[in-house]
Amino acid sequence: MDWRWVGLKALAHALALWPLAWLVRAVIDDGLGADPVAAITHFTGDWALRLLLLGLALTPLRRLLGQPWPLRFRRLVGLYAFFYACLHLATYLVLDLGGFWAQIFEDIAKRPYITVGFSAWLLLLPLALTSTRGWMRRLGRRWGQLHRAVYLAGALAVLHFLWLVKSDLREPAVYAAILVVLLGLRLWWRLRRPLPQGA
């Protein structure tokens, strides 16, 4: 066992859990302002999207650096993205809609931004479940194909943000631009020559 890697992984876990620790403390201190439920919803959504984009950045990073190490964090980052997405969904269902359960189905069916946001979470669910070594082995080549759904999940997540904003699109536009670059790099490389396996 390489202890440097253990240390780095532990650091990565700590960094990924830092936002949650901050949030828990803010909830206890009542430090989230006038509308804490909205604040928790936005906070968990922001971190789900950031980690999703970070996960999508690791494969291009490997290629740009010519080093294999970024891929060793890909599953960890992806699972934390899903973890924050679950917190985000749970906040909406339990803290926000609590008591008005019938509104959930109406929201998912009638509000386009909730429809795409929920779809993004649904797409991430099988990816999280099949992220183990056992499932990688069992699915073989199809594992890679299945996990390409993360591109669509990323696009839906950005669309979710774009559609919920009332008029100032600057913040979601930043995430959209990052997504376009990350997916665009893949497309560019794919068009120039076939990708090596594992991308």
Partner: protein
Amino acid sequence: MRRFDYPAPPSSEITPEPVYRARRQLLGLGLASPLLALAGCAGAEDAAPAPAAAAAATDSPDGFRTREVPTRWEDVTSYNNFYEFGTGKADPARNAHTLKPSPWAVVVGGEAELTGTFGLEDFLRPHPVQDRIYRLRCVEGWSMVVPWQGVPLGEVLKRFKPTSRAKYVAFTTLADPVQMPGIRFPALDWPYREGLRMDEAMNPLTLLATGLYGKPLPNQNGAPLRLVVPWKYGFKSIKSIVRIDFTEQMPATSWNLAQPSEYGFYSNVNPDVDHPRWSQRSERRIAGEGNRVFAERIATLPFNGYGAQVAAMYSGMDLRQWF
């Protein structure tokens, strides 16, 4: 711009008798048994859609003061939509210190006998300041209970002797890039504009607010002069008013210009007409002390609970069409 010529007598002053009587009955119930009044409130969400003329059991019969738990000063003054100071909820409290609410002038124009530019003191002087405690329902699905001070808009407007051609009142917010840093970004088509039909403007509930919690209106809340129309979504309650025009045509309003399918001219609080992005059936109430992380959602009432005072103005109108 679609045109809608609605006959505009001051119908606020001819409230139909049945509405008036129902209001008294509700008050009687509330006085007889405060518990019953509370029960009525809590059970509101289970009941069939409330008749448009039902008065909120928590309110004084004229609707001027609700007994609901008020929103803390810290929350009313730190969670604002005032895009001239930034589009984040905390931006106005951070940035609005650059606004100079004094001296302030209001231009009165359009279809009235008396028009011109008036210093704020002269504009308000004849009218004693009144206390109002109103619910404020934002179109985004949250609400507050706010103790305002101000003067009834209708009483102020009458002084300028609107002519028979005055069917609407248009309001304009200051749009000064020096005082308002948010103006640099075209979040909306500046200046911010709002409007009311004449009878809505004359309704006794409609307030020109100058104070909050007994203090001068903070800049982020629309100093020194803002509208408060408690039965409409919050964006109708235009802030930092510099211009009031009496018009014959329905005036253009900012959010309607930005997204006509989402924001109508009337924008009365209506749980039966959804906004495409938010259900309007319920709301998060921002009020009271303590941690609200686990606070319960509450049902949204037609006309934000002011049906007894305002529903008659819209009788015969299809409120799904005129949202």
